[in-house]
Amino acid sequence: MSITDVTIQPASAPVLSEEQRARLAVLADLLISGGAGLPSASGAEVPTQWIDRVLAVRADLDATVRAVLELEGDPGEVLAGLRADSPEVFGAFAMAVAGAYLINPRVRRGLGYPGPAPMKNPALPDEAEAYLEGGILDVVVARGPIYRPTPQG
């Protein structure tokens, strides 16, 4: 599978408005600012694309995200307030943002994943034995039994 094989299904949940996406971009970038060779949340198209895929399959997160986007005030203070006073809401909102971020194939590639989604990695014929090379299991065997047998009688 390659990145081009990833099909983005249309979101079944109502899409966010442009205003909501703009607000989400600000809040999401406070959570994921980018660095270490990885983009910020908005740089990874979280508010414009990948959030839709999360909200489409998680009605519970959809409700939370929309509620948080309705909160007015300084974005940093909004998140700090949620974290202090409503940690479950903060946790769900952050989970939605991080979940959307980690779907982005570019982010996955940046983290070292071999593909945009879990992929098959069939074992080579001698791979199991190769990991045991050097006799690393021999010393365990040499120490002898470590179980207590069933008492007799």
Binding site: G34, V57, G99, G112, A117, A123, V139, V140, P145
Partner: protein, 542 residues
């Protein structure tokens, strides 16, 4: 007698139900299985979708209270320190389990004799061993022979899966300490085996195997049961087990698509897990069984045990590539399994490593709930990408599975206020983590940090001392004395001779290992007993 009277009615199409259905159908019994959930379509599983982890936190969550599918019944956890997991559908919790396959050890069956706590089981490791062996073949267990943590002769039917980079790095650390480790045992075939395909190592076992490799009973066992004439009714939620005028079980009343139906049977087996089984027995109260069916001992629902396991993680500079599956054990350790009184507790723990990179969202809790000051360090903002970069593919996680001793105040009761979609009472769990279990987890977690250090971790910390295990056990315990147990050594109810419990409810103690192997071995043993004693078995003729 109606022509549709089943020789055997099995309630629940999970691990134990699959084992029993296959064995009894192949032996020529007419078998009917009632399952409240449905078949899981492999193409519906989330594992190959980019958002699989998000789906695993919602519609595929192991906690039914989160999942909230129509087939799930509510579980009241207001008085429980443990969070519950299970899956309701053909295959039961084996659909979502990690596939760690762990035999219990000889000492697990003799805890009273050896350690002076709880009770001995009425069966021994040696009695159960042939049945472990048989189900290990049926479920395609991969593993390495010669483990000195078990009696001689334990040789899984399939070669071990690779322990992968994380397993090797930790194995070398364990060797520095002189501590036991062994390649993990998994109900995941390392080569094509019966109905199961060779594992392609997608690494998403806990979201359901997308290729039909994992030894879930819907894939590995039910096809044989159905081929031999078993009938499996899905979306069939049992409301109560009924009795004839002789006090024998004669079938079950169930709801299917909102319609009440009755399935008559000569013999009834219950495999609805350690919460569902006592719930059903308690719902099956009658004039002759006012406290619930098979409950003259008063122990139905009591002695609930789970495995509130601990986790620790370490960060490593090596590229561990641990998105490579399977999710089941890479390696395990039995170094601290047996009792050492100097530790301040009895019993012990099996440790195991499962890959973490297949669950990158899990990094959030690993950091933000981390002990040793980790939770106080920045995670969001500029730190997020640094943390993810440092941990994805560079983190090893130990899981510390503790033995959990039975206590009668830990129990399952009916919750008449929270009902399921058919109006049946939910289950209520009361569970307090025992002092011995807490000490056991704490002590082993400290040792696991030493293991991380020896393996070269640049940093290591404890992430959780009370993870939900999905291991529901002990609520219809087996024993020889009808006053102190619900079922006998064959799973047969003391009070109702043609009623058998075949799941983890029978467990006398929790053991310190994942329970599926022992659940399946016990179910196999009961099924074999029923075939051998079919002429002596009392059955309902009403």
């Amino acid at each position: 007698m109606s022509t549709d009277v089943a020789d055997v009615l099995i309630i629940g199409a999970g691990a134990s139900g699959g084992v029993a259905a296959k064995h009894l159908a192949e032996a020529g019994f007419s078998v009917v299985v009632l399952e409240q959930g449905d078949w899981v379509n492999q193409s519906d599983l989330p594992g190959l979708r980019p958002e699989y982890e998000v789906l695993g936190g919602g519609p595929w969550h192991p906690n039914p209270n989160v999942r909230q599918r129509p087939e799930d019944y509510p579980i009241n956890l207001d008085d429980s320190a443990a969070v519950i997991g299970m899956f309701n559908g053909v295959g039961g919790s084996t659909v979502l389990y990690a596939s760690c396959w762990c035999r219990a050890k000889p000492s697990d069956f003799r805890v009273r004799t050896l350690d002076g706590v709880a009770d001995d089981w009425p069966v021994s490791y040696e009695e159960l061993e042939p049945f472990y062996r048989q189900v290990e073949y049926d479920l395609g267990i991969s593993g390495q022979a010669g483990n000195p943590a078990y009696p001689p002769g334990y040789a899984p039917p399939l070669p071990s899966l690779p322990i992968n980079m994380a397993g090797r790095v930790m194995a070398q650390g364990m060797n520095k300490l002189g501590w036991h480790w062994w390649p993990g045992y998994n109900s995941i075939p390392s080569q094509d085996h019966l109905h199961q395909k060779k594992c392609e190592r997608y690494g998403v076992c806990m979201y359901g195997c997308p290729q039909g490799a994992k030894g879930s009973t819907d894939v590995a066992l039910f096809p044989d049961a159905l081929a031999h004439g078993a009938r499996l009714e899905t979306r069939a939620r049992v409301a109560r087990i009924s009795l004839d005028e002789n006090g024998l079980a004669n079938g079950a009343v169930y709801f299917q698509d909102g319609v009440e139906k009755f399935q008559p049977a000569k013999l009834v087996l219950v495999g609805a897990n350690g919460i569902g089984t006592p719930r059903l027995l308690l719902m099956s109260e009658s004039a002759g069984h006012p406290d619930g069916l098979a409950n003259s001992s008063g122990l139905v629902g009591k002695r609930f045990m789970t495995h509130p396991f601990g986790t620790s993680v370490g960060l490593y500079e090596e590229d561990l590539e641990d998105w490579v599956g399977p999710t089941g054990e890479a390696i395990e350790s039995m170094q601290f399994y047996e009792t050492d009184p100097s530790r301040g507790f009895v019993r012990g723990s099996k440790w195991h490593i499962i890959p973490s990179a297949g669950r990158p969202l899990g990094m959030i809790n690993r950091f933000t709930m981390g002990e040793g000051g980790v939770a106080d360090e920045p995670f969001w903002g500029e730190a997020f990408t640094e943390r993810m970069k440092a941990s994805v593919g560079h983190l090893i996680e130990w899981m510390i599975m503790p033995d959990d001793l039975p206590e009668e105040h830990n129990r399952i009761t009916l919750d008449h206020e929270k009902t399921d979609s058919d109006g049946l009472p939910g289950a209520k769990v009361a569970y307090v983590t025992g002092e011995n279990t807490r000490k056991l987890v704490d002590w082993n977690l400290q040792r696991s940090l030493e293991a991380h250090e020896a393996a070269g971790a640049t940093k290591a910390w404890i992430t959780n001392r009370n993870n939900p295990s999905w291991h529901n056990m002990g609520t219809a315990r087996m024993g020889d004395d009808p006053e102190t147990s619900v079922v006998n050594r064959w799973g047969q109810a003391h009070d109702v001779p043609n009623l058998y419990v075949i799941d983890g409810s029978q467990f006398v103690t929790a053991t310190g290992v994942n329970p599926t192997a022992t659940i399946c071995a016990l179910a196999k043993r009961t099924a074999a007993y029923l075939v051998e004693n079919r002429r002596e078995q009392k059955v309902s003729t009403a």
